[in-house]
Amino acid sequence: MPETIGFLKPKQAVLDRRQEIVADLKDLLPKGCLISEERELKPFETDAFLAYRRLPLAVALPETTEQVAAVLKYCSRYGIPVVPRGAGTSLSGGAIPQEDAVVIGLSKMSRILDIDLFNRTATVQAGVTNLNISEAVSGDGFFYAPDPSSQLACTIGGNIGMNSGGAHCLKYGVTTNNLLGVKMVLFDGTVIEVGGKALDAAGYDLLGLVCGSEGQLGIVTEATVRLIAKPEGARPVLFGFASSEAAGACVADVIGAGIIPVAIEFMDKPAIEICEAFAHAGYPLDVEALLIVEVEGSEAEMDTMLQSIIEVARHHGVTTIRECQSALEAALIWKGRKSAFGATGRIADYICMDGTVPLSQLSHVLRKTGEIVAGYGLRVANVFHAGDGNMHPLILYNINDPEDAASAEAAGNDILKLCVDAGGCLTGEHGVGIEKRELMLHQYSRADLDQQMAARAAFDPEWLLNPSKVFPLEGRPAA
């Protein structure tokens, strides 16, 4: 495929010293923690944004914060770019390396360090998966709220990098609202602590800056997160509609009426079929669009909220309402929804957009999205966090067909611009990565971007941490 997204030109001086660098890094790490054979580097050349691939110089898999610090210190001393990697589930290419970069993978740092139920916090290493945190405290009646669909595999370090969201963020907020503190290694090897168990911190809100900085300010090795008590009960309810527009308008009116359920998820017909094929959750197959609305609380609270939602839905011509009857059924409904992207692999390759729009624009953007994709001769499946207005059109294509791939990318760009033009933004939770980097100028003015880049440069003046990401390649300050 002709690549439309560029990478920074590899530094020849670094490439020339490859063998020396590998030998030095081997000395800094325990046995088996440095990968340098070309064949073994290949599987690290991409993440879940797999149309783009770059072989890294080496992959380091440190086991401790000290080892991360040692590798970073070495790389900063010799001007070697570094790309951090969690579980490699990024949909925007956030973990894709480059030829002159050392990948620092946190997958060996997967221990839960402290669970403090009294203060409702958990402190974990960065390579712990999102779901592992909830599983560790589930028996005690707690959970960690942000739940990206990839929560089974994605790591808390990656969640912090991308400020990840998830279905239940409508009520509980995204990563930044649930993160209390981090231990982070700066590029020169200095280890700093930001935030902690107590709410808020004196001085600047550096934690707010770190969360969502896509691995460009430092490498987070430990995180302290907020735990939340499980509700008394939770019930997903399925609402079927005869059109996507009707479902979209219903969402806008529910939120507009001041009703905030835990989650409102949207699936159109293609997405319903894809998810049903994997999860056998019993989604209605005779509707054009489906909303999964989850309410929680006591039976009475759930009933009351549900009644108000049903009223709004009736107004929008809801055709099917199905209340989930058992915990098993609820689990399957969520399993299907959360596996939607992967399950799409059953029928096609895809790229997944992440634009977020004001709810009043939802129906309009849904319709236009369909037109844009059809205009490129491709198909689209929509499955997304409707309550947040965080849209995920999956553009279906054939990755083995270069023309198809180019069309898919072009359609994706048009959709993201549409979201921005509708008053929304490029990314709700997947991050900018390489995917949306050049579109940042559609979202921000030069002055806006310059200020963001200045903040970045305060941490990494040489621009060596995950350098090909987030900011357009043109117009960067000369490092």
Binding site: M1, G32, I35, E37, R39, E40, K42, P43, F44, T46, D47, A48, L50, A51, L61, A87, G88, T89, G105, S107, K108, M109, S110, G127, T129, L131, S150, L152, A153, C154, F278, S339, A340, F341, G342, A343, T344, G345, R346, D349, Y350, I399, N400
Partner: protein
């Protein structure tokens, strides 16, 4: 994901199949989270996604297998946890089968590995040789520590550790014969005797035959039947595996011709996964493709078959069973509820250990060939099982029984032994 095979490469039906499998992978990474080796080692190269990538590179370039690729494929347990997790339906099982065959054909292992594998392939699938080897192990066990210190003998030291202290005599109750149904005949099945299980625990099939005949099912133990081929299949020794498969297909189809067969019953889920795959394994053999598919359709795990018999509800017996679902049972055959429901119906209290999806580290010959990773998985498994505070552990696979038994003082039985007891059979030994 993107693939790059030439039309000439795709003319090979195996490559064409693998290409289709690879095309389904969207690199989402879900599989990494439930892969036992990734969970233990934390290296993507030892995860399904990493292995898929390594296999893709090897096959696309049509090159001989290399040391690095072999290392990571060898570390795969073939537990198929990834198969359960994968939302896109990537058929990892057949992809890794293809990779193993390719490795066996194109890669020359170091002498000690070749020697150990040759010995395993020549002994394990043959009950007489295996029984003899176990008796010999009984004599040489005191030497295990010494043997393990000799690098090329290390594998044999591990085998000595795993060998049971006593070897039961060959069982009279499972000899080739037709075992008549008690009362009115409701059905007729063949049962796999297999290879290692009748040597290690003949009481499993004794219990199965007793329970089935007691429920009005005639049971055929065919003469000449033997190892299902799984052990060598997982080593990439395709010809030896296919030979075993053809032999069993012929024998069971003959039994079916004689007086009909409702099922071929398997009491070791590892074997069940393979026999259910005979149709696929022999798909390129015009003389056997159809016959093998027939046998695969007949193959049923003992619990799968019993679930259809509607056994009566028994009184609670105040005994807590930790049910360990073998990977070949839950991931390979997708049998998840039947064994637990049967145990509950039989009056047992059933507990499910945490991390039930993770392998115990047995995995055929894995605990012998990859003993370090296997040992870690065993410890983790035993810890989770013991946390449920059971009286007994039940599982449906001889490999898991042997493996877990070396890590805990709790008794461990095949599910069918407990069921047989509940429905009139003798109290299982070891309880």
């Amino acid at each position: 994901m993107q693939t790059n095979f030439s039309p000439a490469q795709l003319a090979d039906p195996r490559v064409a199949e693998s290409e289709k499998i690879l095309r389904k992978c969207v690199h989402c990474g879900f599989c990494t989270a439930t892969c036992p080796t990734y969970v233990v080692l934390g290296d993507e190269l030892d995860s399904p996604r990493g292995r898929i990538y390594l296999i893709k590179e090897m096959l696309e370039n049509g090159r001989a297998a290399d040391r690095e690729t072999v290392t990571h494929i060898d570390r795969c347990l073939s537990c198929l946890s990834c198969l359960t997790t994968c939302p896109s339906g990537v058929d990892y099982m057949h992809l890794v089968d293809h990779a193993r065959i390719h490795i066996e054909r194109t890669y020359k292992r170091p002498f000690k590995d070749r020697f150990a594998r040759a010995v395993l392939a020549a002994v394990l699938p043959y009950p007489r040789r295996f029984r003899f080897a176990l008796r010999a192990a009984g004599v040489t066990r005191p030497l295990a520590g010494l043997v393990k210190r000799i690098p090329w003998m290390k594998t044999f030291g591990v085998m000595l550790d795993l060998a049971p202290k006593t070897v039961p005599p060959a069982s009279a109750g499972t000899r080739p014969a037709t075992y008549a149904a008690k009362g009115e005949r409701r059905g007729r099945v063949a049962i796999l005797t297999g290879c290692a299980q009748p040597v290690l625990k003949p009481e499993i099939n004794e219990a199965a035959i007793r329970l089935l005949t007691g429920q009005g099912i005639e049971v055929v133990v065919s003469a000449g039947e033997g190892c299902c081929g799984a052990l060598v299949h997982h080593m990439g020794r395709e010809e030896q595996a296919l030979e075993a498969a053809r032999r069993n297909v012929d024998i069971w189809l003959k039994a079916a011709d004689d007086d009909g067969l409702d099922a071929v019953i398997i009491t070791a889920s590892g074997c069940g996964t393979t026999i259910k795959d005979y149709g696929h394994m022999l798909r390129l053999d015009p003389g056997y493709a159809e016959k093998a598919a027939k046998v695969s359709a007949l193959a049923k795990d003992i619990t799968e078959y019993l679930a259809g018999l509607e056994l009566p509800q028994r009184e609670k017996r105040g005994m807590t069973v930790a049910y360990h679902s073998a990977c070949s049972m839950q991931h390979g055959q997708k049998i998840t509820t039947a064994p637990k429901e049967l145990l509950k119906r039989a009056g047992f209290t059933v507990r499910e250990p945490a991390e039930g999806h993770l392998c115990c580290g047995s995995a055929g010959t894995y605990n012998i060939l990859q003993s370090e990773i296997s040992e870690k998985l065993k410890e983790r498994k035993v810890r989770n099982i013991e946390a449920t505070k059971p009286d007994v552990i039940a599982t449906g696979n001889i490999g898991c029984i042997t493996q877990i038994a070396t890590g805990t003082a709790l008794p461990i039985l095949h599910t069918v032994e407990l069921l047989d007891w509940a429905y009139g059979g003798p109290r299982p030994a070891g309880l």
